[in-house]
């Protein structure tokens, strides 16, 4: 560790960031050397994304010193960061899906740049960049036709085209397949060899430990234990530092009494997507739904809940046929649904925590003359906030947009708490959520099931399904490929069913 000062590209000392008087970053310090990958881990809301946003010029720091290539660095807007050689690969990709790969790579150059070259020439220039990275992509392909993994490659190519010397990755692997992940990791190693420095944020601790030279743990806006070599700390130690308490067992499985059939779905067909799916959920039972990308899990849940249409099939709830499923009807039946897209379909981002939590139960929050019972609304929300351990300021004023991912997800779940659901359909409820919040969510799901609620739990994380579920149904190519009871659970068995064609 003979790091000379010349090697240090980015040095941060005593960095603070306040939002409306609330300290989000407290005295953060670390240094990044040439060609180094620094992993930053922590619970959602710990301040990881805020840290990157301060460095990327999205937010301005409150106090503290940032030194970039030995000079003072105070970005006022994202363009300043770009000019200084910093590229930012966001969790939600910033691509124009209606444009081609080549157009996206050069789009920021605008009027001054290569955007106005003839398409063929633009494609050729893009091809040079893609070839240098050994990325196999057609520059003329439209981004909307690409998988999430390929889109990420486009984003990276875009960063490289601007001569980035430092690249920030914020949760880059959440929507990537295993092989796409491998490609990304190879690219990151190549970059490091070329002397590009990187900061890598992820909840996937195994990836972080494998990929990064050093690791920085952040909890509640503060660094815990400083910057350490990734070999010098174990995964369990890192988790304990992240949550500040010991999580004995990440997946708290509890025995439940399984009752009569609640939801009975028979032969749902949606041309090209669902090919005669049948599945049943009993009360007090947690049924997992596993499958690879495109297997039809999300589509099945949306069809059942009446968000997307289907061509034929039969849905029964508590023994009664549901002819025309529709969210309004399901809410009356006390059936809850969390979609995989919490920002667009789960939350009212510019509204308060109270407004969001009381959304589903609004029709019952009335006094005489349909007058809104505001006190009742706040009280119910406060109860939900403490039950789910949502980290928020004054829930009557806190805007949901400014909460962290894990806390946002808890708000989405909290919306349904008040109607005491008999059946809960959850689509990827822990995606992009930190370990501590995941644990809270599992605990809540278990408590629901123990009180007799049936749960349909959709996930692409095998580990959590195996940990939490009583039974797992596996989908493949729009069909149920098979079901496994708890005694039969194993990664091999699940994957075998998921890959069955």
């Amino acid at each position: 560790m003979a790091a000379t000062n010349r090697d240090v590209v980015l040095k941060i000392d005593g960095l603070n960031k306040n939002f409306d008087g609330v300290r989000v970053l407290r005295d953060v310090g670390f240094s990044l050397r040439k060609g180094m990958v620094l992993g930053v881990v922590g619970e959602n809301g710990a301040g990881k994304s805020t840290l990157l946003n301060v460095l990327g010029g999205v937010y301005q720091r409150t106090s503290g010193e940032i030194e970039l290539f030995g000079e003072k660095y105070r970005p006022r807007e994202p363009m300043d960061a770009t000019r200084a050689g910093i590229a930012f690969i966001h969790q939600e990709l910033n691509l124009f899906t209606n444009l081609t790969v080549a157009e996206n790579i050069f789009v920021d150059e605008g009027i001054r740049g290569r955007m106005f070259l003839p398409p063929k020439l633009l494609d050729r220039k893009a091809k040079t960049i893609l070839d240098a990275l050994a990325i196999d992509l057609d520059p003329a392909a439209r981004v909307e036709d690409l998988t999430m993994g390929m889109r990420q490659m486009v984003e990276i190519a875009k960063a490289v085209s601007k001569d980035a010397k430092i690249i920030f990755f914020d949760e880059p692997t959440t929507s990537l397949s295993t092989s796409e992940k491998e490609t990304l990791f190879k690219l990151i190693r190549d970059f490091a060899a070329k002397g590009i420095s990187m900061i890598y944020i992820s909840h996937a601790l195994d990836d972080v430990f494998m990929l990064c030279d050093e690791v920085l743990v952040i909890r509640d806006g503060e660094t815990v234990g400083g910057q350490v070599r990734s070999g010098a700390i174990t995964k369990d130690e890192a988790i304990n530092r992240m949550v500040g308490r010991k999580i004995g067992q990440i997946y708290p499985y509890v025995e439940k009494t399984v009752g009569e059939v609640l939801l009975d779905v028979k032969g749902i067909v949606r041309s090209g997507v669902l090919d005669g799916v049948s599945i049943a959920v009993r009360s007090g039972e947690i049924v997992g739904l596993f499958g690879l990308m495109g297997a039809g899990r999300t589509e099945l849940a949306r069809a059942i809940y009446g968000v997307d249409p289907f061509d034929s099939g039969r849905i029964e709830f508590k023994g009664r046929a549901i002819a025309d499923p529709d969210p309004m009807l399901w809410v009356r039946e006390k059936v809850a649904f969390i979609t995989e897209n919490r920002r667009d379909e789960g939350l009212l981002l510019p509204k308060t925590v109270v407004d969001n939590i009381s959304l589903v139960n609004l029709p019952h929050m009335r006094k005489r003359l349909a007058v809104l019972d505001r006190a009742g609304q706040s009280a119910a929300a406060a109860e939900t906030v403490s039950k789910l351990r949502i980290k928020t300021g004054d829930a009557n004023r806190q805007i949901v947009r400014n909460l962290s991912g894990g806390n946002q997800q808890k708000v989405v779940i909290g919306k349904w708490l008040l109607i005491r659901p008999d059946l809960f359909i959850l689509d990827e409820p822990t995606r992009g959520v930190d370990v501590g919040s995941k644990f809270d969510i599992y605990t809540y799901i278990n408590a629901l099931a123990a009180s007799g609620t049936g749960v349909l739990f959709i996930s692409s994380e095998m580990e959590e399904l195996v940990g939490v579920c009583d039974r797992i149904a596996v989908m493949c190519g729009g069909r149920i490929a098979g079901e496994l009871e708890r005694a039969q659970f194993s990664s091999e068995a699940l994957l075998k069913l998921a890959l069955e064609k």
């Binding site: 969210p327 809410v331 959304l359 809104l372």
Partner: protein
């Protein structure tokens, strides 16, 4: 500069709290006009402004509801024109005023609801953007008003009907009472009831609201009924003032309505807004018209001034939202 939110006195004016820029502008303008414009600050003129602003208040309140869902209602002015013509036709058809006047008024209100229903169905069932749907209905119904009358005015409506514009209760003229009553009911609906929460929630994000089981289509449909009904009330007041059915009535009012709502702080994108601001905005627009008129400023330059005011207030709102 201090954030307007920091001025405590505004927080105590319930409901007006989110319309601060409009209120501050209103007060500043009132003082400046009183000092600089001769004949502005006398009682008669001020009362005049308030009476004249009643129809704009009605229209702006209705428009606010449609704005809250990120929509717009161009057809308000068609309701004014066609309502005026149909109401007048009924009142001069030979029925005794005791029957004709209530019947005419009822017909005007029904027309407002009917046009609103057409708009609402077009937007919710046919999934048309409200911009297109209400533009179409505006052209159709305004055209109908001109066709029915061959673009002639229907004069000499019953004196009893004219009383709606001229009469007063405890010294307060009926148009003001009607406008404030409608405003009070709508403000109650929006700020105090579950229905009001439905509106702002749905206006913020349709998808989230739908999956949360809210009656999305019914609520959006109802917004156009409200807008149409408000326009019908405005039509009644304006027709009564002229005591004539005029097929071109209200044709220049649309931009004033939009200006009033925007000045009041309601976002064109939906979800955020308040009806109190629209009330202030409407009176402010009328005050501007009146004071500049007294100064002898031409109609074109008054238009220019209104444009600048909308621009300044929108920028202020943007700036405030960015700081929040």
């Amino acid at each position: 500069m201090k954030d307007l939110r920091d001025y405590d006195f505004l927080k105590h004016v319930k409901g007006f709290a989110s319309a601060q820029s409009a209120i501050v502008f209103f007060i500043v303008y009132l003082i400046v006009a009183a000092l600089l414009v001769p004949k502005f600050a006398n009682a008669e003129n001020l009362v005049n402004i308030v009476v004249q602003s009643s129809e704009l208040i009605l229209l702006a309140c209705g428009m606010t509801f449609v704005f809250l869902n990120g929509g717009i209602d161009f057809s308000q002015i068609a309701v004014i024109a066609l309502g005026s013509v149909i109401g007048a036709q009924i009142m001069v058809s030979g029925l005794p005023p005791a029957v004709g006047v209530p019947l005419g008024v009822l017909a005007m209100l029904c027309l407002g609801l009917a046009v609103g229903a057409v708009n609402g169905l077009a937007v919710t069932l046919l999934k048309m953007p409200s911009f297109v749907a209400t533009m179409a209905t505006q052209l159709v119904f305004s055209g109908a008003a001109l066709t029915i009358t061959r673009s002639k005015t229907i004069p000499r409506l019953p004196r009893a009907f004219g009383e709606i514009a001229r009469g007063s209760l405890f010294g307060v003229q009926y148009p003001i009472i009607i406008a404030l009553a409608v405003f009070a009911v709508l403000a109650f609906l929006l700020n105090r009831t579950i229905y009001g929460k439905y509106i702002t929630s749905i206006g913020t994000n349709h998808k989230t609201a739908k999956i949360s089981g809210l009656p999305v289509r019914l609520t959006i449909f109802s917004l156009f009924l409200i807008s149409g009904l408000c326009a019908a009330f405005a039509s009644i007041i304006m027709t009564a003032r002229l005591r004539g059915g005029v097929p071109s009535l209200g044709k220049d009012m649309l931009m004033d309505v939009v200006a009033a709502v925007v000045i009041g702080g309601t976002s064109v994108a939906g979800g955020e807004g308040n009806i109190h601001g629209s009330l202030i905005g409407a009176v402010l627009v009328l005050m501007l018209n009146n004071s500049l008129n007294l100064l002898g400023v031409s109609w074109y330059n008054i238009m220019l001034c209104k444009g600048l005011l909308v621009l300044i207030i929108s920028l202020l709102a943007l700036w405030q939202r960015k700081r929040a």
